[in-house]
Symmetry: C2
């Protein structure tokens, strides 16, 4: 069965954006530095841009992430195939480039079931902090790549809020420091 994967950039203090993130300020105040590894990256950063090692069959993202990112992506979203948008507000399907965004209002569990069907044994990529938290809480995450940017932001949107207090054991399977970030890859196991 395909893995459920988190792949996200955070500061050393665990923020995925600076403060005041929103439309037109997707990474929040001062948060652009988080993506130095993307835009000023070295050869060591490149494999992580390409998502080497993944075989993605479907994606899941939150409505908030969609609304903020849709504007920035235009017709070139950084994914293809079916991406399920977890939302409380129904919306018709949106086609953007090679990606089809399907809005689901039945909750996280039903959305994951749909994604598993769609992925047909391939990996499922989670996008955004909120969706990542929900599936961590549910114990459904199998693999996590954290691009830990070399910065403390002090404030912003935390990656690991609301994941419950069940201990989640990690096995570090790769660790690549570059001038901008350290790329950490973990297998994820829920232990109680």
């Amino acid at each position: 069965m395909g893995r459920v994967i988190i792949d996200i950039t955070m500061s050393v203090d665990g923020f995925v954006t600076g403060p005041n993130d929103g439309p037109c300020n997707g990474l929040g105040d001062g948060g652009r530095i988080l993506h130095d590894w993307v835009f000023k990256g070295t050869d060591a950063d490149k494999p992580f841009l390409m998502g080497e090692g993944y075989d993605i069959g479907a994606g899941i993202l939150g409505r908030r992430t969609f609304d903020i990112a849709n504007e920035a992506w235009g017709d070139n979203p950084p994914m293809q195939g079916t991406v399920f948008v977890l939302t409380h507000r129904p919306h018709e399907t949106v086609q953007r480039g090679a990606a089809t965004f399907v809005f689901i209002t039945d909750g996280a569990e039903a959305t994951l079931a749909l994604a598993r069907d769609e992925a047909a044994g391939k990996d499922i990529m989670l996008m955004g902090a909120d969706v990542s938290q929900q599936y961590l809480h549910m114990g459904e995450v199998d693999f996590m790549t954290l691009h830990v940017a070399n910065v403390l932001l002090g404030e912003g949107r935390p990656l690991f809020a609301h994941i419950g207090n069940d201990l989640i054991k990690l096995e570090c399977v790769d660790c690549v420091p570059t001038p901008s970030a350290t790329h950490m890859q973990y297998k994820v196991t829920k232990t109680r």
Copy 2:
């Protein structure tokens, strides 16, 4: 001039203890796993136990950390020389093994000045989350070793609360993954 150093273990989600930490439960509920790299460590972990690369001339810790740890340490605290205890409550000097704990009620700035005098050009080691946060906020930290344990705790005492929202740039100078933790070493620079 000696460096002001943070050297602390945290979970991937940034907690230095599990929930409900206190006397007799220093690492909090489930927090013992944080120190697997200490007690079940491999040869790759050992240099970090010894504090290789440091030349410590003085220490600073918070009163709360002292009260919790003093009990566990007994006459064998893991430090020697003069350690300043930042506190609001005056207390007479405490001798434990090779360490002398001197209680200072004049605040963080005055305590750092005393520690610099005592260290005479050697490094100053900060101990505990609270003291680390205060000096990060003041822009006084030069170097940070994070032992990032392979676990998500979900709850507990956060390392990076209350550090202000000034961007703090880091330069990763070492990164050593082991089966229990990833030892990250950063030079710290305040940028605004």
